[in-house]
Amino acid sequence: MPDLGLDVLLKGNNFFRLLEGLLAAVKISMVSIALSIPFGVLLGITMTGKNILVRFLTKLYLEFIRIMPQLVLLFLVFFGSTRSLGWNLEGETAAVIVFVLWGTAEMGDLVRSALTSIPKHQYESSRALGLAKRQTYFYIILPQTLRRLLPLSINLVTRMVKTTSLVLMIGVVEVLKAGQQMIEANRMNSPNAAFGIYLVIFILYFLVCWPVSMAARRLEKKWG
């Protein structure tokens, strides 16, 4: 077996530090997801509205967030808010704000596309049955939409978990940064540690994302 420098993980608190970093990443992504889903559903419904101005503004928001690299958004919120507004946000808070802005935009677009994919006759039949507009949404359209949404939003969740690796740029020590610190601290006595530690980080990310995918698959089967 080649030397992967895994002994580095057994030194001192190293493995615990890696888990702590993972916890930081998972916390940021889970809080962001929990907020992005309701906001995204609202945004998606708004985007299907008839008002041109509203449609234009939501589209503008979506494209702005999409075009901006997440890293730039992180810098803007973390440093920009201090510069122009005098707020002193914690790195974690800034990260959650950016991820919610991003998640809401992406989720909104997913909801919009899922909503428009519901055939027109569903709306019309429901109206014909005498359901009010709000009732149509709640009982007919949304349940169908949510099922279509599930695979797409799971994709967003896992993307979000992986993108947390960027928050190291605003001083948050998440799993990747913790790993880099260990690799560098042992540059001399364990030059191969990069392989072992990145392997472990890979497994950790997998362990976070895999159960999410599995749960989604089960739900899909159940609803399908």
Binding site: V8, K11, G12, N13, N14, R17, M68, P69, L71, V72, F75, L76, F79, G80, T82, R83, S84, L85, G86, N88, L168, M169, I170, G171, V173, K177, Q180, Q181, M182, I183, E184, A185, N186, R187, M188
Partner: protein, 278 residues
């Protein structure tokens, strides 16, 4: 990191310029010496992954040449220290927004940076260096024959310097440290030019190599930086660094943190005490 920076900075400027023009910068973002003392904690930005200058050990404690100095600063100031993990690309931003009081992250003094932040007295020297094999030590670039190639890593100061000052030397350019190292070890070139800390560390770790030129061209200094205009903190730092110079603090710091990597030999090349540069 360099690449990220290249994309990031223009985008950032673009994004911020809209705001900077429109919104007011109400007050100075830095804390004065008195404010820091009153708060009882100083925020110092250091690298957390640049062994042996700033890194985190297996127990989660910050260590290294920069950190050893930072600990002393806090002790003499009588305050607790809060380390902030910074990256090369965000050091200036951290100071300008007051998220840290001092940057001690191996910050090289340059003309461009002087317009953004205020540097205190230097505490370290860096310049370029050249390493070569023991059987043919290159002591001066003038000694090189017409076909003797020198390895550089693309985008580094070593590359720029050699192209400008020694246009006749054939260069072998590599994109990463790892590929450059492999080529050098396979003997494709007679020498490797890079930051002197890098080549010294390389010669220490790999038997059979010598740093023939530990100092090439002009040398730069590494100094602590504070927010622009934060004179009270800057003046205190300068006095402190002079005082530390009298007790040869940075020599002691070198022994404790850098000697393992660079050996005794290069102490005078790398260390600066008080006002002394060169």
């Amino acid at each position: 990191m360099k690449k990220i920076k290249r994309i990031l900075i223009p985008l950032l400027v673009l994004a911020l310029s809209g705001c900077l023009a429109g919104c007011k910068n109400t007050k100075d973002n830095y804390r004065t010496l008195e404010e820091i003392k009153k708060a009882g904690t100083i925020n110092i930005g250091v690298f957390s992954d640049k062994n042996p200058f700033g890194y985190v050990d297996e127990n989660g404690n910050y260590r290294g040449y920069d950190v050893y100095f930072a600990d002393r600063l806090a002790k003499d100031l009588g305050v607790k220290i809060n380390y902030v993990s910074t990256e090369a690309a965000n050091r200036t931003e951290y100071l300008q927004t007051g998220k840290v009081d001092v940057i001690l992250a191996n910050f090289t003094v340059t003309k461009e940076r002087k317009e953004e932040v205020d540097f205190a007295l230097p505490y370290m020297n860096v310049s370029l260096g050249v390493v070569s094999k023991n059987d043919r030590v290159v002591k001066s670039l003038e000694d090189l024959g017409a076909d003797d190639a020198v390895i550089v890593i693309s985008g580094t100061t070593a590359e720029t310097y050699l192209i400008k000052n020694y246009p006749d030397i054939p260069l072998q350019k590599f994109d990463s440290y790892a590929t450059a190292k492999e080529a050098f070890e396979n003997g494709t070139a007679v020498a490797w030019a890079n930051d002197n800390t890098e080549v010294i560390a390389f010669a220490m770790q790999n038997k059979g190599y010598t740093v023939g030129i530990p100092k090439l061209g002009s040398s730069d200094t590494i100094a602590p930086a504070v927010a622009r205009g934060n004179t009270s903190l800057l003046e205190w730092m300068n006095q402190e660094i002079e005082k530390l110079g009298e007790e040869q603090f940075f020599h002691k710091n070198y022994d404790e943190t850098l000697a393992d990597t660079y050996g005794e030999e290069y102490k005078e090349t790398l260390v600066v005490e008080g006002k002394k540069t060169d």
